[in-house]
Symmetry: D2
Subunit: 147 residues, 4 copies
């Protein structure tokens, strides 16, 4: 498999991400997967909120963690696996709304991939920017694993 | 309420954090609350893991988010509320083990509190450092709410 | 002075930033100042390099620190001063070239402004992305000071 | 050369860091170099200040950048070079005083080393914590070069 066969890589990534227990617990979904891009989102449920009825900061962090790693994985080579080294996120506005969406895009591929993310909440068809993030994802030699 | 009455503040913080749907969904607990310190942890369950059987990075992020905010809240004044502005975390080692524990300690109290966190996994009584973080928590005037 | 009188605010910002000894030592310049935007750059000199002839990481950090704070200052109110709370930067590619340029743009104005920055090196008219950053700038009540 | 011959490694690191034009421009010095530890500092001069007479944030960033990379370099293997991937720093208190000192210590050695730093200002023999940072340093195969 290689970047020449993106559909196969994408299917593998979806398979591995889908096998995460935490992904299922939150009910998150991959909405879009393209080379260098991942959009991931989750619907509002009481279990995902904090005490004021907003999406919990930990849900934002989960989306940032998973979407940035997955965006980097869309450009990995055969025989590489991805590993989140670190990320930083700014919580910008209260995460109200019906759905929380994270768009992660690769700024720089490579052994130390750099990925940027934006998180939006959706309400009545309008988007509000609720968080911004910057992540470093390592590409390591090793058995192929996604996410 | 003030820093002079820490038990009352601690009770209020525990009440508010306990009211978070996401805290309950993960089954996380506050293990220790002292002025400038919060220890929070969660037990291993399949729902909290990623595809390789490790604690999901999003669980680490949740603990960091919640424990750093709560550590800052232990030093808030009456008529203040805390708001997580941002944090950065490094994932240092695979989060294996039976329990994931986050220790957050206040480096600098004030309007822009700075909090440091360490995350450890516990297995067979031994601790492994799995993540390190640095967070900025804003103290805002407003109705008293906890972390 | 207010956002209604941007030229006066811009003149004040340029005056204060120009009074920084470190700005002069590096020979940095403000290339552009608009509401929510600051472009700052510095020309290559041996004194700004590391041992391999690249711009030193500390020069990149200086530009990020100063340009993000200045971008936030373009939206401050009368009787406010700006204070850099924190930032995170990723070094993406070697900073070769004749000039290092930082573009900082405000993602979110307010008490806790969030600013994004990109750093480019220029060589033979071509740009290379060398760093990306995300910063938090506090707006505090107090005597008007820039930068 | 290897960790078995730390004095030789330390001499090489001092040689390379001493060859940085920017290090000389600022007048910074390595005060201490031990396996996993680097202390670097700079004396107050008007050229290193901002408009209010404090050490410029860019000086803090320079020390953090250089000291964290150097701390990681103390544990590199033969045939490895170090490369700063990213760092995040919180400015905690005004950097007054006669000298600015950065202590960087390795939290985790390896291909993706994680280094923590604290910056202090010294005045009348007393220390004030002015900044805290967390950095990721990559260890890459390649010709031996220092920090």
């Amino acid at each position: 498999m290689s970047a020449d066969d993106f559909p196969a890589l994408a299917a593998q990534i979806r398979h591995f991400v889908g096998a995460q227990g935490f992904m299922k617990l939150l009910g998150a979904e991959i909405d879009l997967l393209e080379p260098g891009l991942c959009v991931m989102s989750v619907a509002r449920r009481p279990e995902l909120l904090q005490q004021d009825g907003l999406f919990h900061g930990g849900v934002t962090a989960f989306l940032v963690d998973n979407a940035t790693t997955t965006a980097a994985a869309t450009r990995r080579e055969m025989d590489q696996r991805v590993l989140t080294a670190e990320y930083k996120l700014n919580l910008i506005a209260p995460a109200r709304g019906d759905r929380l969406v994270c768009r992660a895009s690769l700024l720089k591929p490579g052994r130390m991939s750099v990925v940027e993310a934006r998180v939006f909440s959706l309400a009545d068809g309008a988007e509000t920017l609720t968080a911004a993030a910057l992540a470093t994802i390592a590409m390591l030699p090793g058995p192929v694993r996604a996410g």
